[in-house]
């Protein structure tokens, strides 16, 4: 069985397809010429963009009217499959909505899932997904057994998004079936946390702070340095859990995966959970007072020292330029 049809769970923010969606479409079209996007929302504004990255068709549910995408989009997908349009492989982004849709659909189809993957390859009849474990130092290849659709979620930036110049995707309506009790959750308000400067997962330079800063107020140094470098501030899970900064700042396995040109880790020891999210950076600078800290094992430049002494001097030096 070759792969004839691939679906991508597509997402839209501010009227455009997300970078993650375009990454998955780029990969999907390398596996099959029959690529379909499935969107929980209205596709009229993004059909051209989805087509440009490889989708020939987009199923769109229209406005979800407060329903959570997990139940609604998985329900729509199941209805399409029951109707006879069955993909061999469905690609999901490893994010909040992607995980929810994937999980609900896996039960509806009674199919296994693979998550946190960074690559997928088709080898004859086998679909093989690659997943890093133990902080990324070991790569595991897993193959699906039994029949598809095979369900896989990919970490952000697993693939480079490249336009193909394809024609706009044809829009097909997908209806959300009666969700019964599972539809009992409704979004009543949406809050967007405003941040200035580049987005954490798109910034060319990221400056992150950790427990070594000592107290919440000291995070200001990280923000100031990030601003001077026109980068984005990030954080380890430790200080997010401690409530110093919002969850949206978190870099790591359970936060954002970043691949900037330069990553500066200030007062971060380098727990596995953090390193998973930043070891793809081109250049890593680490400042930590413990010379045994694991972060130094992957740093291109490591300063064994107190962040409270090094950062103010660095900030002064950059201000004077």
């Amino acid at each position: 069985m070759a792969i004839n049809s691939v679906w991508v769970f597509a997402q839209v923010t501010n009227g455009a397809a997300t970078t993650g969606t375009l990454e998955l479409l780029t990969k999907a079209r390398s596996l099959s010429s029959n690529v379909t996007a499935v969107l929980g929302g209205d596709a009229s504004g993004v059909a051209a963009q989805l087509g440009d990255y490889g989708a020939t068709k987009v199923y769109a549910t229209g406005d979800l009217a407060g329903k959570l995408p997990g139940v609604a989009v998985s329900g729509a997908m199941k209805a399409i499959i029951d109707g006879g349009d069955k993909p061999d492989l469905i690609l999901f982004p490893q994010n909040y909505e992607g995980r929810d849709v994937l999980s609900r659909l896996s039960v509806k189809l009674n199919k296994s899932v693979l998550t946190n993957s960074i690559d997928v390859a088709v080898d004859g009849d086998a679909v093989n997904a690659t997943t890093p474990i133990f902080g990324g130092n070991t790569l595991v290849t897993t193959t699906f057994t039994g029949e598809g659709p095979y369900l896989v979620a990919f970490r952000p930036k697993s693939f480079a998004a490249e336009a193909s110049g394809g024609a706009p995707a044809a829009i097909a309506a997908a209806s959300v079936p009666d969700l019964g009790a599972t539809g009992g959750a409704k979004v009543t308000a949406v809050h967007v946390e405003e941040s200035t400067g580049p987005k954490l997962d798109e910034a060319n330079i990221v400056v992150s702070g950790g427990r070594g800063l000592g107290e919440a107020d000291k995070y200001e140094m990280v923000e100031e340095l990030a601003k001077l470098l026109k980068g984005a501030p990030g954080a380890s899970r430790a200080i997010v859990d401690a409530g110093w900064v919002p969850y949206s700042y978190q870099v790591g396995q359970t936060g954002k995966v970043v691949k900037p040109s330069v990553y500066i880790a200030a007062g971060i020891s380098g727990a596995t959970q953090h390193m998973v999210g930043m070891k793809g950076a081109k250049n890593i600078i680490a400042i930590n007072k413990d010379k045994e800290a694991p972060i130094f094992g992957i740093a291109d430049l490591g300063i064994v020292g107190d962040v409270h002494k090094v950062l103010p001097k660095l900030i002064e030096a950059l201000k004077g330029r």
């Binding site: 909040y96 999980s103 130092n137 699906f144 949406v190 740093a299």
Partner: protein, 258 residues
């Protein structure tokens, strides 16, 4: 108000992880502890039951070798009872089978007003089990909840999103997954630890719960290759002598980012 919390007992995350050479699954045959991520769910459950003025917190877990050490930590925090699913036939189970097993364990307890899980475990982190459980049980769910309260029989939660957060209202019974840091987990008191030793934990097998097929046969996937990733090499490490900021400036200049 009755709450069920799903807890995972995992190898100590401070120790290096290892794969079983024969099966390519995570080794979990040593001492297991309560996953830190689950302490938040246990704490939240205790607070919600307390706020409701009655009811109890139960815990469910799936682990090899009849392991209950991690469950005892949750019982010591204040949970009343638990079900442990332990069965050699469950070795190699994928997330979907795990969700079916835990859903059946929840039903064995007679269900609950609310089921709480962490967003993902710290060892395997597939991250799909809570939402899969909700689907198996036919329940609504709010995943990635970072603030939760029950108000007039309705669950109100702030749900983490890519851009910020959504306020979500949800009918009960329901399932939620909670992010780390959502509450401050209490430390078990000495009295709690002593009391936990005698709290009931029923040990059952997959077939007791009517879940088949499980384990390798039910997994729908198998590991075919394990390889070392290209290691990142350490670069220049210097002790701060008061002037090392200059090294950073030079490094950034060299990259032409300043």
């Amino acid at each position: 108000m009755n709450v069920i919390v799903c807890v995972k007992q995992i190898p100590d995350p401070a120790l290096p992880g290892a794969l079983d050479g024969a099966t390519n699954t995570l080794k979990r045959d040593g001492k297991l502890i309560l996953d830190d991520s689950d302490a938040y769910g246990v704490e939240m459950a205790l607070q919600l039951v307390d706020a409701a003025g009655g009811g109890e917190v139960s815990i469910i877990s799936m682990a090899p070798n009849g392991e209950t050490a991690g469950m005892r930590t949750a019982l010591a925090m204040g949970a009343a009872k638990g079900i442990l699913v332990s069965d050699p036939a469950l070795q190699g189970s994928d997330a979907l089978t795990t969700a079916k097993v835990l859903a059946a364990a929840a039903q064995r307890l007679g269900g609950a007003d609310l089921i709480i899980a962490a967003t993902e475990s710290s060892d395997g982190y597939t991250g799909t089990v809570p939402e899969q459980m909700a689907e198996v049980l036919g329940l609504p769910s709010v995943t990635f909840a970072k603030k939760v309260k029950i108000d007039g029989g309705v669950l109100k939660a702030d749900r983490q999103t890519e851009e910020g957060y959504d306020e979500v209202e949800c009918a009960l019974p329901a399932l939620i997954s909670v992010t780390a840091g959502v509450v401050e987990p209490r430390y078990p008191s000495f009295k709690g630890i002593m009391a936990a030793k005698s709290k009931p934990v029923e040990e059952v097998t997959a077939s007791d719960l009517g879940v088949t097929p499980a384990g390798w046969a039910g997994a729908g996937q198998k590991v075919t290759l394990v390889a070392q990733a290209e290691a990142r090499q350490a670069g220049e490490i210097v002790e701060d002598d008061g002037e090392s900021f200059g090294k950073i400036v030079a490094f950034l200049e060299n990259l032409k980012v300043i």
